[in-house]
């Protein structure tokens, strides 16, 4: 049935061998101390076997030894901690040029969507040699996106986007498991990640039929649901202008500044009065119950790609729409002037 019995997973992502090195170090530490203790025990039970002619020597203890065998394990632990923490930071921060994919988990399947509109169920095609960022959400209970060959795992929560990322190294097909128990068919909620060479991936993208890119579908929804009624760029708009919003800091009515990330966009659609933008009234109705996760992803993707002239600083930090409008205009005018006079390095909208 199976020809080989694997004892170690494939190293199919750029991070895999880093994780494996840490693992092997820990295996070595474990083996060392376990064998040390075992050897000592074995030695003692032989050497100090009970005989009628020898009594045990009563030893109280040794503070020096206590310090030694506290400090050394502590030191080793700290090395492991720092090493693992650095690795973790790297694993939690997707590079900014990562290709985006969206994933919706539901009992008991995975639905993936590409910005180009391609969809698949229970399989995820990715190119090798390029970081891929997966934005995940659940429609029901907590699931977990686990690709052992890539050494990545991320719990997938309802009502909240989570992200994970990886860069596949080798073409191949790898297991995708749901690793957070989610009910009856938890063990059947498996799929595959298919890593392909970039040219193969490109042709795969074009081969499937897509109804249009996510952003295009999102734009349709934006009109259908009436978002465009309030969210416009002109001065009379009752809602903040969404162009260029994604990734920028936003000032709220209570003075806090938050970053407009995926979760911000999603929450603003479902619970608009949670974070009201400064200078605007909390008149936006909630769309909870009227919009599916996939629709939300399309909308989010659309909004993400709405570009605007680059601006610095928090949007909408004046108290009235008119004042905001004036300051926006002024900023854009200033920037255009600066670009006319000298080449200006515009800083990006990165988080």
């Amino acid at each position: 049935m199976q020809s080989t019995v694997p004892l170690f997973p494939e190293q199919a992502s750029t991070i895999a061998h880093h994780v494996d090195w840490l693992y092997l170090f820990l295996v070595a530490v474990t083996a060392f101390f376990s064998l040390l203790v075992a050897a000592l025990i074995l030695f003692f039970i032989i050497r100090y076997k009970r005989t009628p002619d020898r009594e045990a020597e009563q030893i109280h203890g040794s503070t020096l030894l206590e310090i030694v065998w506290t400090v050394i394990p502590l030191g080793i632990s700290m090395v492991i901690f720092v090493w693992a923490a650095v690795l973790y930071f790297h694993m939690q921060r997707p590079p900014s040029n990562a290709m985006e994919v969206y994933g919706v988990a539901k009992q008991w399947m995975w639905k993936f969507e590409y910005p180009g509109g391609q969809r698949e169920i229970n399989s995820l095609h990715v190119p090798i040699g390029r970081p891929v960022k997966v934005t995940l959400i659940s429609q029901d209970v907590i699931h977990s996106f686990f690709v052992p060959a890539f050494r990545v795992k991320q719990d997938v929560l309802p009502n909240r986007y989570m992200t994970t990322w990886f860069e596949a190294k080798e073409p191949g097909t790898y297991h995708l498991f749901c690793s957070q128990y989610c009910g009856t068919k938890h063990s059947a909620m498996i799929g595959e990640v298919v890593a392909m060479k970039p040219e193969d991936f490109a042709s795969w993208l074009t081969s499937g039929k897509a109804e249009g890119s996510l952003a295009a579908q999102g734009e349709k929804l934006f009109q259908q649901l009436g978002c465009a009624t309030c969210h416009r760029a002109d001065s009379g708009a009752r809602g903040p202008n969404l162009a260029g919003l994604y990734g920028r800091p936003v000032r709220l009515t209570d003075g806090h500044v938050v970053v407009a990330d995926d979760n911000y966009l999603r929450e603003s659609i479902l619970v608009p009065n949670a974070k009201v933008v400064s200078g605007f009234q909390p008149i936006m109705p909630t769309f909870q119950g009227m919009i599916s996760e996939e629709d939300l992803i399309q909308l989010t993707d659309y909004i993400k790609h709405l570009s605007a002239p680059t601006m610095e600083g928090p949007l909408n930090n004046r108290s009235t729409p008119e004042q905001i409008r004036d300051s926006e205009v002024k900023q854009v005018q200033d920037q255009m002037k600066q670009q006319e006079t000298a080449p200006q390095k515009t800083s990006g909208n990165n988080k």
Binding site: T253, V271, P272, N273, V276, Q281, P282, I283, M284, P285, T286
Partner: protein, 267 residues
Amino acid sequence: MSHSSTTTTANHSDSATTATHHPALVHHFDNMEQQKEAATFGMWVFLLTEIMMFGGLFVAYLIYRLKYYPAFVAGSTSIDVSWGFANTLVLIGSSWTMAMAVWAAQTGKRKLQVLFILGTMVLGTAFLGVKAKEYYEKYDECHIPGHVIGKGFNAWGGCSADKSKGNIAEEVIKRDHSIPEASAVQTAKQSEMFFAFYFVMTGLHATHMVIGLGVLAWLMWRANRGEFGPEYFSPVENVGLYWHFVDIVWIFLFPLLYLISRHQHAG
């Protein structure tokens, strides 16, 4: 060098009731003082476990209060602070009667013990009566979360199908006309969380009071039989500790649930 010897110290072998020790002394304790100290210590440890239980609940409450502050304000304003205050006074009064019962036990006054314990029970029952009334009001106003008991929240946070009569969203707008309807409706929906905590926290507290009333009844029966006096009153004292604890929990519940800023900020 020698191993532990078995020299006698306290000489309470079996359960023979000699004239030298109190009838309430149990055989595994050496003397009444050890028994009393153990009992009191035990009650404090038990109260510590209660603090942890209510504490977990309070932490969850605080987390959601931070998350849904306007909704919590709206919910809090919809419960009657005068009844809550009255209940606070009733409970503090019952702590006084309980403390007096302990004093009466310490001084061996049998009739007063019974009277004060009874007084504590009466006040405790009054508290529960007021709570029942408050719960009924919430039932009547359809503020019971979950749509299982009672008539359930409607979209406006209350009973009537139209937007009138004491719905939460309505009240929010009444207090601050600048709040648009869309926002008030969301606040009303979120206030379900407030009411969930209101019922769970006061319900858990009320359960402890009911148990306390049962214990007080038992205590009163024992006091009536003249069991307590200057040499032996630790049951009264320890029940007193429990009762004071239940009172203190209410002292926390009252401000957290009834006294949240009752004025919503504009805009």
